[in-house]
Every structure is written in C-alpha cells, then in structure tokens.
Amino acid sequence: MKRVLAVVLLLSSLVARAQSTELENPGSVSAIQNRAYTMDFEFDLGVGTLPLDAFYKGYYPLAGAVVHFNDFLGWQVARGAYSFNVSTGLRDQLERDFAVAPTAFEEVQWFIGSDLLLKPFYGKSSVLNTWVLHYEAHFILGASLFKFSVAQFSPALNLGFGIRLFHNRYVSYRLDVSDAIVFGIVGKAKISQVITIQLMLALNFGGTE
C-alpha cells in the first residue's frame, strides 16, 4: 500500500511540474520554412567501387538519370556502370602458387539498373556555425542486371540508402551505398551479394530553390 502511495505521490509531482511549465510558457513554436531545394529531373555522373570481393576490386565510372515525382519519391529511370577490375594479392597468389584458373573468378564487368528512391529525410546542418548545409537522405529499392566475366548475365535486387548534400539549386552531391542481391550465378551459390559504393555529381534541371 505504501509503495502504491509513493508511486502516486511521485506521479502527481510530475504532473504538477508539467502543468506549471505549461502555465508559464503555454504553446509551442516551430520554424515553418519552404524547402530550400527541390529536385526535378536529375542527371548523375560519378564514380563507384565494388569493395566486397576478396579476389578483385572494381572501380567504375557511372551515369544515371532520375525523375523526382515529388519531394518524397523519385524514380531512377536508368543507371549504368562499367567496372575496371584490379586483382587482389590473394587472387594473384592463388593463380601463381595453386594454379587456379583465371576463369574460376567471377567478376562484374558492367551493370545497369533502375530504382525507386524514397526520400523521407530532409534536413539542414550548421557547418562551423557559419554556413547552413541542406541535405536529404533516401532509401533505394530497385533491380539491376549484371554482366559477369564468366556467368554472363544475372538479375539482381538492389537495396540501399544514400545521402544528398545540396550545393545550389542546380548541383548536389550524392553518396549511395547499395547491396545487389544477385540471383543465379553459374558455379556459385544461388544468391550472392555485390556491394556498391558510389559518389555522384547530380545536376538538377527544373528544380527550385
């Protein structure tokens, strides 16, 4: 009984405190602003990397185009990249010391795809208390088609996220990290993963500031 009484007393003091604050400063304040930047039709140029495979690392230039339906949804109509691959020391060692055939290593040669961009996050950040930097973050959901060196073509489901930093109404910078779940590469597991990290210069046409 005592315990119940103590809890009730404690809660009542909290309620009283909340009421007192409400009486002193009733109401709430928000800053309502127009979005500083709005995207419309976006053309991307950039570079990316395939960092995950232990036998090679891929470095690629890429291009893409995105149509933004509104501030929350965009469609990456097309994207494509051609990868320049560099063997790792492990692969060299395998080939040299263990006579593993080069064809045993599956490599991404190029890929194309299309994605939906869901953009629920938009915000701003203070930089050195001097500038304001606007950004948005998005999720990526889409499909890709990979061309491998051995297994030829394989479809993939693309999942990822990215962040965009706005420079001005025409230019923004976009960093995407995505995981392509590739289906049916011959001679390998049925499902494998290709991680991509890409940095893009995004040119915006028709957007506002």
Binding site: G27, V29, S30, A31, I32, Q33, R35, K124, V132
Partner: protein
C-alpha cells in the same frame, strides 16, 4: 633735425617692440602656438627640450623663424618610403618636411597629402583626415585638392568627424572647380546642411545639380522625403509613400538605404492603418543570407501582424526577439505585445506574467528614472540610447578615436618626439570634442528611451488591472469555448522544424506559435 632723428628712432623702436609682441601663429588643429618653421632638419637631429622650455623656445623662435628651403631629396626619400610600402617612415619624414617648408612650397600640399595617406594606412584615420581637411581649406595646390577630397570622401564610409569633414569641408566647399564625382558628393553634403537648418529651397538648389544617375541623387531624394515627413503635421499624402517605394527599388542605393526606404513605407502605411500594405512592405526588406536582421524591424512586423489578427505569427516573431542576437536590445514593447496576445487567447496568467516581465527586467532603469538619477549611468538606457541615430555615430567615432589614440603609442619611436607629441595633442583634443558631442547627443536620446520605458510600464499597470478583472470574471451558465481558429496546415513544399530553444539565423523570420484559445463566447447567458 636732431628732434626728427629721435622721433624716427623712437618710432622705429616702438615698431620693433610691436613686432616683438605679435602673437605666434596658432596651429589650426591643436589651437596652440605653432612651431612649424623651426630650424629643425629632422626629428632626430635635435633632442627636444622639456615642455616648458620648448614652449618658451618656440615663442622666441617664431619671431625670427623663416621657412627653410629643405633639400628636395628629403621629400623624395619620404615618397620612396611611402611607395615602397613603409608608411611609418614616410609619415615621420613628411611631417618634418611639412613643418619645415613654407606653405607656398610647391611640394607642401603633396607632402601633406602623402602624410595623410601614410597616417591612414597606419590606422590613424582621424589624423589623416585632419591633414586632408587642411589641404581642402588651404588650397595651395589645385592638383592635390581633388585627390584629397576623394580620400576624404572614402573616409566618410567609416566613423568620422562629421563637423570637420561633412560640414567644414564638403559643406563649405566652393564647388565651381571640382571634378563631377567629388562635386556631386559636396553638393549632397551642402544640401543636407541646408536641410538641417530648414532651408529646403537652398537644399533643392544643390540637389538639382546632382547627376541623376548617381547614388547621391537618390540619397538626396531620401533626405528630402524624410525632411518633408517631419514637417507634415497630419495625414501623409500617398505620393510621399509612393516616392519612398520608388526609392526602395532604386538600384543605385545601397541595400541598407533601400531597406530604410521600404521601412519608411511600412511605417507610414502602419500609421495609416493599412496593415496589409505595411506587412507587404516589411516582406520586401532584404537581408543578407544568415543575417539576424534588426530587432525593431521584427517588432514592427509583429505589431502589424497582431493588428491583422495573425496573433500566432506575431507571437512567432516575438520568439525571434528572444534570440541571443537581440538579447541586449531595448524593446519594452515586446513584453506588452506578448501580454496582449496571451490576453487575446484568454491565457490570463501568462499574460500577467509577460507584462510583469517588463517591470522585472527593467526594474533598475525604472527605479533610476523615478529617483531622477543620472540616466546616462544606467547601463540599459545608455546602451539603448547609443545604439541608433546620431548618438550611435558619435559613439562609434569616439570609439575609433580611442582605438587610434592607443594605436598611436606604437609609433612613438618612429615618429620622433615632436611628431608624436603633436599627434597626441591632436587626438586628445579630438577626443575631448568627441566626448562633448557624444554626451550632448546622449543626453537627449537617453531621455527619449526613458520616456519609452515609462510609457510601457504604464501600459503594464493597465494590463495587470485588465487581466485581474478577467481572471475573476464569472463564467456564465452554458458558456462554450469560442470556435478555434484553424491554424494553417503545412503546404507541400514546407518543412517544419520544432523549436527547442535553439535559434538558427535562417529561421528567425519563420517561427510560428501554436496555442489554443481558451476564450468563452460572449453570447453565453
């Protein structure tokens, strides 16, 4: 014959005595006996005597001193120092040169000009301005004059001696021989002087000579409109507002001046109770990116919105005025307006608290006013009074003199004792005069601020009385809350950042307050 000879001798002796008693020339800057034409070739050539001795020596020498023909090489050396980026050394040499040659020397005015430039480059702007003003007054070399005036005009962008430069130089120039850009500025200043003494016709004569494409013409229009407003007793004609509006769009004016013009439009419309028009005008004020803006602008906009019935937006702006950027602003009205808004929403206790906040916050100042103390000693009133208008300009000038006076000490060694003591006297006198002008202006403006505070504190009492009545008002049977005013919803392109006591400069104009009304319908039985 002997008698004639004696008479001649006596007359000659009397003449010589009279010459001996003739006053030494007075330095136009320090007002002391000038000792410019001594036989001193360079500051370091002869150590200075003790002050008392020096004075006596000076007087004695003035009688016999004749300007020395200085070696031209000395002047050339000084110029080489100046153009070689060594203004410190150049200033010392040029000072010696100007002190030792006659005013009729062909290089005298040039030496003064480069001495002024050197001093300005050393951060001693006022000393530089004094020499430039002297060139303008003496006019010994017509080639130097336009350059000196152009440099003086540049100095007017910063805190400067308004009497010396604006009134005594530009306000009194003979304008016939000046290049167009300088004469434009001089006409503008002379027009302003005429306006200040209430002679609009003469001012118009000067202003009519300003080139239409120049910034001065627009500034003159602004000055004329402001003066005309002061003379208007009742209704402001619409044309005056339109003229201000036109000026606000004038690209020749600086953004600050355009903002002043649009603020004038907003204030005039507010006075005419055209609140929508006033609000539109306030929205036309353009601030640089991330500039916090002016507190008075926000407060006026808040009153306008309040009068338009947009009390939530008005309260949002009052939140802005609590930002650290405006913490030191003297805005007694802010507390009253907040109290009005709470009262209108029937939150009576917060209304009372908001009103009392004014008397709490300004308790010391109100006490000082009631006790008839020296108001210039009250820090809040002092800060408020010296934060705008001519008092602010006088304060800024005084501060710049203090700073330059301190800077002067760094050059004591290079300047030599003679130049250093001359400059020290010059700054001491300027400081004394600057302090006098500042004190005089401060006295008037502090009184105006005290009046403002007293009026606001009277309003607080009324508010407390009104709120007291409302608090104990009987709620009638069947009373209902008044229909809530729908707050506007977020539009598609809008984003909302909840305020958590962190002020962002880019949000200062965008705060929106949300509070439901607790008022009861008046029609209840």
């Amino acid at each position: 014959m002997k008698r004639l000879v004696w008479t001649t001798v006596v007359l000659a002796a009397a003449g010589a005595f009279g010459q001996g008693e003739k006053k030494a020339p007075v330095d136009p800057v320090t007002g002391e006996a000038a000792a410019p034409k001594q036989k001193e070739a360079a500051p370091e050539a002869k150590p200075a005597a003790a002050p008392a001795e020096a004075k006596a020596e000076t007087r004695a020498e003035v009688v016999t001193a004749t300007p020395q023909k200085m070696d031209l090489k000395f002047f050339d050396d000084a110029l080489n120092d100046y153009f070689g980026g060594n203004p410190k050394s150049a200033a010392a040499k040029l000072f010696t040169f100007t002190e030792n040659v006659a005013a009729t020397d062909e290089n005298y005015a040039w030496a003064q000009f480069f001495l002024a430039r050197s001093l300005i480059e050393l951060g001693l702007r006022h000393a530089g301005a004094v020499y430039l003003a002297r060139i303008a007054r003496e006019r010994t070399n017509p080639q130097v004059l336009p350059k000196a005036l152009a440099t003086l005009q540049e100095l007017t962008d910063l805190p400067h001696d308004e009497v010396l430069i604006d009134e005594q130089v530009f306000g009194a120039l003979d304008l016939g021989f000046l290049p167009e850009d300088i004469s434009g500025y001089a006409h503008y200043q002379q027009g302003l002087v005429d306006l200040r003494v209430g002679n609009e016709r003469w001012a118009n004569t000067h202003f009519s000579k300003l080139p239409e494409a120049g910034a001065e013409a627009s500034r003159a229009k602004f000055a004329l409109l402001v003066t005309r407003l002061k003379t208007l007793k009742r209704d402001v004609p619409k044309e005056v507002i339109d003229d201000f509006l036109e000026l606000a769009k004038d690209e020749k004016l600086t953004q600050d001046a355009r903002n002043d013009a649009i603020l004038a439009v907003a204030r005039l419309r507010y006075e005419l109770k055209d609140y929508n028009g006033a609000f539109e005008a306030y929205n036309l004020v353009k601030l640089p990116a991330l500039d916090p803006g002016r507190a008075t602008l926000y407060l006026e906009e808040a009153w306008t919105r309040y009068n338009l019935g947009q009390i939530h937006a008005a309260m949002g702006i009052l939140t802005t005025l609590d930002a650290p950027s405006f913490r030191d602003e003297f805005l007694p009205d802010k507390y009253l307006l907040r109290a009005f808004i709470y009262r209108d929403l029937c939150h009576y206790l917060p209304a009372k608290r908001a009103a009392k906040e004014l008397t709490r916050r300004f308790a010391d100042s109100i006490e000082a006013i009631r006790e008839r103390e020296d108001l210039t000693r009250d820090p809040r009133l002092l800060r408020a009074a010296s934060s705008h208008g001519s008092t602010k300009r006088a304060r800024k000038f005084l501060e710049s003199l203090e700073f330059e006076g301190e800077q002067l000490g760094r050059y004591a060694g290079t300047f030599g004792e003679r130049m250093f003591s001359y400059m020290t006297r010059l700054y001491d006198l300027a400081r004394a005069e600057g302090t006098r002008v500042y004190d005089e202006r401060l006295k008037n403006s502090v009184r105006a601020e005290a009046d403002k505070l007293l009026r606001a504190s009277e309003q607080v009492r009324l508010m407390e009385y009104e709120v007291g009545l409302k608090l104990y008002e009987r709620v009638k049977k069947g009373s209902k809350l008044v229909a809530l005013v729908e707050e506007p919803r977020l539009e598609g392109k809008q984003v909302s950042y909840r305020f958590v006591n962190e002020y962002w400069n880019d949000e200062l104009r965008d705060y929106r307050f949300s509070l439901k009304s607790r008022c009861i319908e008046e029609t209840a039985q």
